[in-house]
Symmetry: C2
Subunit: 252 residues, 2 copies
DNA sequence: CGCCAGTTTGATTTGTGTCAATAAGCGTGG
DNA sequence: CCACGCTTATTGACACAAATCAAACTGGCG
């Protein structure tokens, strides 16, 4: 299946390396869309004390693996990751892509073990937030507690949107919707909404959208031929936002 | 679309009726699988004070509607409900079925408005738990806070399972998986795992599984002909648990 | 008892998967 | 710097599972 089945809790970046990665939430330009959102500077200092930062993950490196003990939530600082589950017959289902400022790992809470795996799609820096500390902290910080509830609730509604997409929409609509989602998330980080590089492969896109690689490729070709997109491998330019939204068929 | 678009917060069962529905978590036989799980009797008393119980919902009655203000989580006491979202083009996507002891409404937390709607599939009794009270309570009751996090986390992993099902499995596998899920949830409530009545229509099943009514009907016929099931409209008997699990293709 | 929503079954169409082959990136080492 | 090999992406021909269209049947409820 893969050569990257190491146990992240033993050999992962947060134990194997003792370098200091001098970054703080306070100076992080993602703080307004990340965990710190909604915290005043006093509370932020407390949060700061529990956050761990390790060496960046290499492309294809595993952050955590399904079944291993759950300890932390993770915030993406740079790069991108994919979340996925392995089906009982050994295939992979990509359940989400995680871009800077986004939080992953919440599916591990219920069983105290990760229900999915996470792998870096490119070199990626990640902050680890030990969940037991976060739990204790959130009991004394109503804003944090609420933010965590909201974060998990948002994940639920986003999963429901994906369920709807998979259940009701055509290949073209699915791809268009994903592109619009990435575009919007880029804009949120002050990046271009119309020009960007996809961090994931066609295989991952197809897997995420319940389609084959070939179909993804065909859809890209079609959208390019009709002048909606300019596609150069992973480099995407949205030429006609309007038309792309049309193609997504109002399922944003 | 529907004649049941009333605003639940104004005309719903928790305001319209002043009857006392004398039930308590302590005497409820669902308490071990519901919210009270993991609470000692002192904490339970506190929880008890915030829970509201209204008159039962009629079949097809709306519990809450997407877009309306979020106030409470709901626990199913009896009957069954479906959760669904309306797509931008007016179709419906069923996102889940809720049986006694199960909690719904968590997708409303992130935006303070319900992201989905919930409708009774049959006469159903429901407990409402005002979320702001629950939040305050959980700040002082670590067990409750943890339980809520776990509940939401479980919802996420279940949504991920549905995503995988929709993305990777055939019609037969999807139907078999749903039947096994309902069977397992019945068993959890001490009911028969092999004989039960489906509370939802074929349309709802198809909608939930991303298939048409006709396909659902054909799958039931096939499973019956091959001796795996006995199907009499909504009355289901699992004749060969083993074979059904086989049909679900290890995607439990 | 009759009506209408819900269900079943059949015939046909279609979007996407599968199989196959070529082409284009990209890292590695000569 | 180019040559090599491997992974990833594109394009085409064909197959198939499920959708669609159509019609008959069933059963619950007024």
């Amino acid at each position: 299946m893969s050569v990257h089945l190491q146990n992240a809790s033993e050999t992962g970046p947060f134990r194997a390396c003792n370098h200091e990665y001098k970054v703080s939430c306070e100076t992080c330009r993602l703080s307004r869309i990340c965990l710190p959102l909604a915290l005043d500077s006093g509370d932020l200092d407390q949060l700061e004390t529990i956050i761990q930062r390790g060496r960046p993950l290499q492309k294809n490196e595993l952050l955590y693996h399904e079944g291993t003990p759950f300890q932390s939530l993770y915030a993406v600082r740079s790069g991108a990751l994919k979340g996925y589950r392995t089906t009982p017959d050994g295939r992979e289902q990509v359940t989400g892509f995680y871009l800077p400022g986004e939080i992953l790992g919440m599916d591990g809470i219920s069983e105290n073990a990760h229900a999915s795996s996470a792998r870096a799609l490119e070199t990626a820096a990640v902050c680890a937030v030990p969940f037991d500390s976060l739990e204790k902290l959130s009991a004394t910080m109503p804003g944090l507690q609420r933010h965590l509830f909201q974060l998990m609730s948002r994940e639920i509604t986003e999963d429901q949107l994906l369920i709807t997409l998979l259940s009701k929409n055509t290949a073209d609509e699915r791809v268009a919707t994903l592109l619009l989602s990435i575009s919007r998330r880029n804009a949120r980080r002050q990046l271009s909404a119309s020009q960007f590089r996809l961090p994931m492969s066609r295989v991952d896109i197809g897997n995420y959208l319940g389609l084959t690689v070939e179909t993804i490729s065909r859809v890209f070709s079609r959208l390019q031929k009709s002048g909606v997109l300019s596609v150069d491998n992973k480099e995407i330019e949205i030429l006609d936002q309007e038309a792309l939204q049309q193609a997504a068929n109002i399922a944003a």
